[in-house]
């Protein structure tokens, strides 16, 4: 029901036992409290994956976002300590249809409900999530708040009226223009040594991975290919990168508006100037786009799912990929063009990947300097592993560059 409809703002259609989701445009959904009780705010977005809620919740890119799960049953497999993509849950709020009453999986170590409570994540369940998603699809993402428990009661002990809840939502800052990387980035750098067949061996390459909200699967994917990965705080300087002996630089995914990340863009330009092989994912792709002189823009409702068809324009092959982005790079699809920044200082660049659903730019490849990036998530977690070849490609680039330099 909407506050903008004929329903009067003073009418009470929830009680103190309910949870209430209020959208910026006045839509209101009444359900049951899930996870922690209280209030929370964020940009409300929907995620369509049928598996991997634990990875979703712990993905730093969801910082300050309220996530709506389209899959009806959430929490079935509980939580474990192996699958999180970072050290904590990042979503600011959680919206689901049916939380699982039990946990059923041989790897489970606890229930999701308890984990949400432990980490203070306010959620709501038992609402028509499909109605909500259809609304977000047509109206676009927006700010929202979830209220339950004491947050629904005034100091006098009466129910807070909907209009007051709506006003609270309106007070929150919007996502556009937000620079959130600092919030999610590591404070200290840390190292992940090669694993698997490469464990204990001389690293194939040393990657400086700038943490803009990195998921733990990403350095893992590099480490299992023999890389030594130094995960660095987002405030790191080019000197810091040189200091760790990086033979390659990686910029991770992360939350926020790329247009508000000028310092990070400047840092990348130094990397490109130095011709150090570069690979970027998601936010890292947007930073490369901006470094090359392209613009970025906010999508109406973003891509958040694990079933997106991305076409590799070089090979013509389609991969099914995991996405989580609300912004995209504005670059021309088709023939390579000269990168606009400083009259083509970085040479030719082409859009290497596109999303077949809506033709959004999903990858950039520089033809004259060793840099490429994708907008989606080859590290998956959650999602299909179709695009893991991109890590191989990055490792190859670093090897080639090393060989060329050795010969030179």
């Amino acid at each position: 029901m909407s506050l903008n409809d004929s329903v009067t703002l003073t009418e009470q259609y929830y009680s103190a036992e309910d949870a209430v989701l209020v959208l910026e445009d006045g839509q209101i959904y009444v359900g049951r409290p899930y996870g922690a009780h209280g209030e929370t705010f964020g940009e409300i977005v929907f995620a369509t994956a049928m598996t991997g809620y634990q990875e979703t919740l712990t993905d730093p890119s969801y910082d300050r976002q309220i996530v709506v799960q389209t899959f009806p049953h959430i929490g079935d497999t509980g939580v474990n300590t192996e699958d999180p993509e970072s050290s904590k849950i990042w979503v600011s709020g959680y919206v689901v249809r049916e939380p699982s009453p039990v946990v059923s999986n041989w790897r489970a170590q606890g229930s999701l409900d308890e984990e949400l409570v432990r980490q203070g994540i306010v959620g709501i369940s038992d609402i028509d999530t499909r109605k909500l998603v259809r609304h977000l699809r047509s109206a676009g993402v927006m700010r929202a708040g979830i209220f339950s428990g004491k947050a629904l009661l005034s100091e006098a002990g009466t129910l807070v009226p909907p209009a007051a809840l709506l006003a609270r939502v309106g007070e929150q800052p919007p996502m556009a223009g937000a620079n959130l990387s600092a919030e999610v980035s590591t404070q200290e750098h840390y190292v992940i040594e090669p694993t698997g067949d490469f464990a204990g061996k001389e690293p194939v390459a040393t990657v400086a991975a700038l943490d803009l909200g990195i998921k733990s699967m990403t350095p893992h994917r590099l480490a299992e290919r023999g890389c030594r990965v130094v995960v660095m705080p987002m405030q790191s300087t080019f000197a810091d990168i040189e200091a760790v002996g990086a033979t390659g630089v990686f910029f991770s995914n992360g939350p926020g508006d790329p247009a508000a990340a000028d310092d990070t863009v400047a840092l990348l330009r130094q990397v490109l100037d130095a011709r150090i092989p570069f690979f970027g994912i998601c936010f890292g792709n947007q930073i490369l786009g901006r470094a090359l002189g392209f613009g970025t823009y906010k999508l109406k409702f973003g891509h958040r799912g694990v079933n997106q068809p991305v076409k590799d324009l070089t090979t013509g092959k389609v991969e099914v990929t995991a996405h989580n982005h609300g912004f995209a790079v504005d670059a021309p699809i088709g023939e390579p063009v000269l990168a606009p920044y400083q009259d083509g200082k970085y040479g030719r660049v082409r859009v290497s990947h596109i999303d077949l659903n809506d033709n959004v730019v999903e990858g950039l490849e520089c033809l004259d300097i060793p840099a490429f990036s994708v907008q989606y998530h080859p590290e998956a977690a959650a999602g299909p592993h179709d695009a893991s070849y991109l890590f191989d490609r990055f490792v190859d680039r670093m090897r080639q560059t090393a060989t060329t330099q050795a010969q030179a």
Partner: protein, 1122 residues
């Protein structure tokens, strides 16, 4: 990569008759394939022996051959039509095996036909156990430890190594036929022995037992650019040990994390690549250990399967259609997603609802069959439901099964400790009753741990069952049924009827609950199946209901006609009714918005682009009424068609009408005139027609009185099914005593009061030696149009659904046809039919008896339509919306003059033969159940033989129905009852002249000798159905072997075994069971055997005539205009 330009004509092979494990889903996939090919401008040559399919409609292909799917016949069609390519992946295992056989016989090479969709090598790698194991290994995955055996000796060696339990799987069989789990040597020898026989390559795979593991399936597609997508994961609620076709399954997966799911996905992709399915779909099954997560790849099907039909309907991703496009060279990204029309097919559907499939069984049709569910599929149909959560979708799917006492129930007292203990014990063995046992046990206080220990069903599902029970208890105990509680009950999947029972209101309480619900304005909403969890706007109106806030229905301009489908396939109500519904949709769609309601995923009618709107919903009064109410808000509704979907929708007619729903065509009152025995008797009396005498009885005494008044033999049946006992032909008082005693025993003990049954037995005069006839006709209130007159090959007494029949009738005189026409007109008029009517008649001593009338489409409508080239169901749909037969003649739907009842000189003959599933059903000791045909229908499907005369058409029908068809020489075993012995000599003489050697029992041989006919004598064998022991009696002059041994030694080619008409009919059982196991043609009536002889003789003289139905239609038209 665009479409290939070098393919101009494609041959498509269908799946033949409906059998267990291969049902209407292949009509769905084949129809999609034909439509795609024709849209692409390709000439389509279709071969399928099953006339009850949409795919064999003349407009679906350029040349349609309703012919047996055998190599010689396929070769003749290939030689005639010279297709560029053969597409074998959409007609189930039948088509795949046929393609393999054509390849091996060199036919494909000879005529330069390219196999598209899958190569012979890929089929081999997917289906051959040993090759497939290598593929799995190369994919970095594990198969169950196993070995291949080609003989019983090898079997014994392998078990010494792997131990028990051992799973036995024959190679190259469909639906898991012949597979099973052996727990000891005796079981092993039986299952492996049969498996070695069924496998065309005589090999079986023996593997470590993984019973109780979690079971999953993935549906994948791959294009020639090596793009792969997973259309849908499916989780089996029943763990490994029950065939997926017999399991309750859900989509997507519920109990795997992303890492575990992605692991299955990676393995699946590696396997589809390794097997080399270049263009098309495949299905891969996995087992996952519930405690360690160890993954074992069970098997793959390198083709479109039943599961792909399910996945297509579950997600809206049309696998068969896309597989066809891929075979033509398109790539996934070049194909549009029909549902969004803005995104490509190279994505993986994601769903925001829950899909549940529930199988439907027919054990009651096979007395003596063991009800244990195994890895060999036994269900005859399935229903699927979609809803907002698991509980609601399970509830909807269970009520879609349309079988009384098959839903959760809390009637009667709470189960006590003793009963719970018994239930927990019983549920160790998976049967169709297991979920009801679980629910009752939970009601009686069993814990989740106890249920898990007994069933190994994942605790997540058990928790859901417990929640349903909790909600039911809340409904039962609440003082008042509040809005919140009622909504909770609906979200838990409880129907109004179930809620009424919980409130102690009984069946009638359904109306009370609905009225209360409506007072609260609590209606289901309708959501769209959109492949993308609402990420994109869906164009296709494919809906499911659930209890939530927002409905997505759109308003309409045109007047709508709602067509109710037939629900899950079952014996007696199958694909034929889907055929008639689809025809109505096709025809009425020209002038109305057609709205299809059905819950069977194996159908063409539930293809989202057949009708203007599709509701995938249960066919119950509650669900249909909600659809009607919802559609009424969206635009004008002309009414509901109930007479095309068989008995299921017909039985809703009266209540729908009472609730204010307009019923199109024959009114509910008129339906009652035909269905109610008393009222129908009045109609017949008024019209001066005879019916067999009948009576009813509630006790033995009454039964004997009735039977004696009518005169033996009588046909006895319960007025509703009592514990699965069906009809029986009863010849004397003694047999009647046994029957009534059993009926009393099987009626629930508390319902029997002093030897009286709770509901009456129906006792009819049984017409011995009568000719039975089926007539299908149209009536518009004025004019009668006979669709077809079908004469049964067997005498009356064999259920019309199991009998072979011929059109035009083979022996009826002009006068008899005239009498049938007059009687049909009188009945149609008397019952105020508007639309279709089917009447069953019998001529006994040239007296015409009316056996019964059904004021609806019958099973024979598709056959009659194909045989006469007239779309009867389309014309019927027009009549139901108020048009006349004359208008249909003008429209060209019906012949301009005359009708399908006329016999024209030179008219080709069509013979329908039915296909029986006896092989699937085993007694607890492992024998097949008895194969005698009787008044209870047991066939699952049918084939049509179409040729220049009856003998050729009959021979063709046998070839289509039974592997190998009729033998033209060899050894015939004969054992006939005394009544048949007079007719035997003539037949025996012909057999000898045709070059057969006769083997007989001593009694039969003695009769033959007196006529100077030589035969070899075999030992006598008697055995009982419930005993493994067969008593062999050595007879002097015999060859020293009994017939069962001879059959097992492959020394017999055909069996004629007519049972004694009196007694238990179990005398010949061992013989019939052996013949079934060996796949021998066997005949149990003399009349059919006469047809057999004529057929063999005809085929020996002249080969079959191979003609497409389009050519036939031209000939028929020419005859018509003469």
């Amino acid at each position: 990569m665009p479409k290939r330009t070098d393919i101009h004509s494609v041959m498509v092979i269908g799946s033949g008759p409906i059998v267990i494990g291969q049902a209407a889903e292949f009509d769905y996939s084949g129809t999609q394939a034909c439509r795609v090919l024709r849209e692409e401008g390709i000439r389509v040559i279709l071969v399928n022996s099953n006339p009850a399919t949409i795919m064999t409609d003349p407009q679906m292909a350029d040349a349609t051959y309703i012919e047996p799917i055998t190599v010689p016949i396929l070769e003749r069609i290939i030689a005639k039509e010279r297709p560029d390519a053969l597409l074998p992946t959409l007609g189930g295992q039948t088509a795949l095996n046929a393609a393999m056989a054509l390849g091996e016989a060199g036919v494909l090479k000879k005529y330069n036909v390219e196999l598209i969709g899958a190569s012979l090598e890929a089929i081999d790698r997917g289906e051959d156990r040993e090759l497939f194991k290598q593929v799995v290994e190369q994919a970095g995955a594990e198969s169950a430890r196993s070995s291949i055996a080609h003989s019983m000796q090898e079997v014994d060696q392998i078990v010494a190594e792997l131990g028990y339990p051992l799973v036995v799987r024959p190679s190259f069989t469909m639906g898991g036929l012949g597979s099973g789990i052996a727990h000891d040597e005796e079981e092993l020898h039986r299952i492996a022995g049969a498996g070695l026989h069924y496998s065309p390559t005589n090999e079986v795979l023996l593997e470590e037992g993984i019973e109780g593991w979690k079971e999953y399936e993935l549906e994948l597609m791959r294009d020639r650019n090596d793009n792969v997508v997973v259309v849908c994961p499916i989780e089996n609620v029943d763990p490994v040990g029950v065939h997926t076709g017999d399991s309750i399954t859900v989509a997507p997966c519920f109990t795997l994390t992303d890492r575990e799911y992605q692991n299955l996905r990676n393995i699946g992709i590696a396997i589809i690549r390794g097997v080399g399915v270049d263009t098309g779909g495949c299905n891969i099954q996995f087992a996952v250990h519930p405690e360690t997560g160890r993954v074992i790849v069970i098997e793959m099907n390198p083709r479109v399967s039943r599961s792909s039909a399910l996945a297509s309907k579950a997600t809206g991703f049309p696998i068969a259609k896309i597989a066809t496009k891929l075979a033509l060279g398109y790539t996934l990204d070049e194909i549009q997603n029909d549902i969004t029309r803005s995104t490509p097919a190279s994505f993986e559907p994601t769903i925001d609802y829950v899909v549940t499939k529930v199988p439907r069984f027919a054990f009651e049709k096979f007395p003596g069959a063991e009800e244990r569910l195994t890895t060999s599929m036994k269900s005859v149909g399935e229903a699927m439901a979609l809803a907002g959560n698991f509980q609601e979708s399970l509830g909807k799917a269970m009520r879609s099964i349309d079988k009384r006492h098959m839903g959760f129930s809390w009637d009667g007292p709470v189960p006590d400790e003793e009963e719970v203990a018994g239930l927990l014990e019983a549920m160790h063995v998976p049967t169709e009753h297991r979920y009801l046992q679980i629910q009752r046990a939970i009601w009686g206080g069993a814990s989740a741990e106890q249920i898990f220990a007994a069933t190994k069903i994942d605790p997540w599902f058990i928790a859901q069952f417990m929640l349903i029970n909790e909600t039911a208890m809340a409904v039962r105990k609440a003082k008042t049924l509040t809005y919140a509680l009622l909504k909770r009950a609906k979200k838990a999947g409880l129907s109004d009827v179930q809620i009424a029972h919980l409130r102690g209101l009984g069946d009638e309480g359904e109306n009370t609950i609905r009225e209360l619900r409506w007072t609260y304005d609590l209606h289901p909403v309708f959501k769209t199946v959109d492949t993308c969890a609402a990420e994109f706007d869906a164009v296709t109106p494919y809906y499911y209901s659930c209890y939530a806030d927002e409905t997505e229905l759109r308003t309409r301009e045109r007047e709508a006609v709602i067509i109710l489908g037939s629900g899950p396939n079952r014996i007696g109500q199958g694909i034929e009714f889907d055929y008639t519904c689809v025809h109505a949709v096709q025809e009425l769609g020209q002038d109305y918005d057609t709205i299809m309601v059905n819950c069977n995923p194996e159908t063409v009618s539930t293809d989202y682009d057949m009708s203007d709107r599709l509701y995938f919903e249960p066919l119950t009064f509650e669900d249909v009424l909600e659809i009607y109410e919802a559609e009424l808000q969206m635009g004008p509704v002309k009414g509901v068609i109930v007479q095309l979907g068989g008995q299921t929708p017909l039985s809703l007619a009266a209540r729908l009408k009472a609730a204010g729903v307009p019923i199109l065509g024959t009114t509910p009152e008129s339906i009652d005139l035909a269905e109610n025995r008393e009222l129908f008797g009045d109609v017949l009396r008024r019209e001066g027609l005879n019916a067999p005498r009948y009576g009813t009885a509630l006790s033995l005494e009454e039964a004997q009185q009735a039977a004696n008044a009518i005169g033996y033999p009588v046909l006895v049946r319960p007025s509703y099914v009592l514990g699965g006992r069906g009809m029986e032909i009863v010849y004397d008082d003694a047999q009647l005593r046994t029957y009534v005693a059993r009926a009393l025993e099987e009626a629930q003990a508390d319902m029997v009061v002093s030897g009286r049954l709770p509901s009456p037995l129906l006792i009819d005069k049984f017409l011995s030696d009568a000719i039975e006839i089926d007539v299908d006709a149209l009536f518009d209130g004025e004019e009668l149009y006979i669709g077809g007159i079908m004469e049964h090959v067997e005498e009356a007494g064999v259920h019309s659904g199991d009998a072979a029949c011929t059109l035009p009738p083979s022996t009826l005189s002009d006068d008899q046809i005239r009498r049938l026409r007059e009687a049909t007109l009188a009945i149609a008029k008397g019952c105020n039919v508007q639309g279709l009517i089917n009447v069953q008649y019998a001529f006994m001593s040239n007296t015409l008896y009316v056996i019964e009338a059904n004021p609806r489409a019958s099973r024979t409508v598709p056959f009659a339509s194909k045989a006469t080239g007239t779309p009867l169901a389309k014309a019927a749909a027009r009549i139901m919306v108020g048009e006349t037969i004359a208008q249909q003649r003008e429209r060209g739907l019906l012949l301009p003059h005359g009708d399908g009842g006329e016999v024209r000189n030179g008219q080709p003959v069509a013979v329908k033969e039915s296909v029986l599933p006896f092989k699937r059903f085993r007694t607890p000791i492992g024998r097949t159940v008895d194969v005698l045909l009787g008044p209870e229908m047991r066939s699952t499907g049918e084939v049509m033989g179409f040729d220049r005369d009856f003998p050729h058409a009959f021979a063709k029908s046998q070839l289509a129905a039974y592997d190998g068809g009729l033998p033209t020489n060899g050894n015939v075993f004969i054992s006939v009852n005394d009544a048949d012995k007079r007719q035997l000599p003539m037949l025996a003489v012909r057999l000898v002249e045709l070059g057969f050697t006769i083997w007989a029992t001593a009694g039969t041989a003695s009769v033959l000798r007196r006529y100077g006919i030589e035969s070899k004598i075999v030992d006598k064998i008697t055995s009982r159905i419930d005993s493994a022991e067969a008593k062999v009696q050595h007879v002097s002059g015999s060859v020293g072997k009994n017939v069962v041994q001879l059959i097992e030694d492959n020394q017999i080619d055909m069996v004629l075994n007519t049972p004694n008409s009196r007694g238990s009919r179990s005398d010949g059982y061992a013989i019939r069971a052996a013949a079934i196991t060996a796949d021998l043609p066997q005949f149990t009536t003399i009349t059919e055997f006469q047809a057999v002889l004529l057929a063999i003789e005809a085929v020996k003289k002249n080969d079959y005539q191979i003609m497409s139905i389009q050519e036939h239609a031209r000939e028929l038209f020419a005859l018509e205009s003469e």
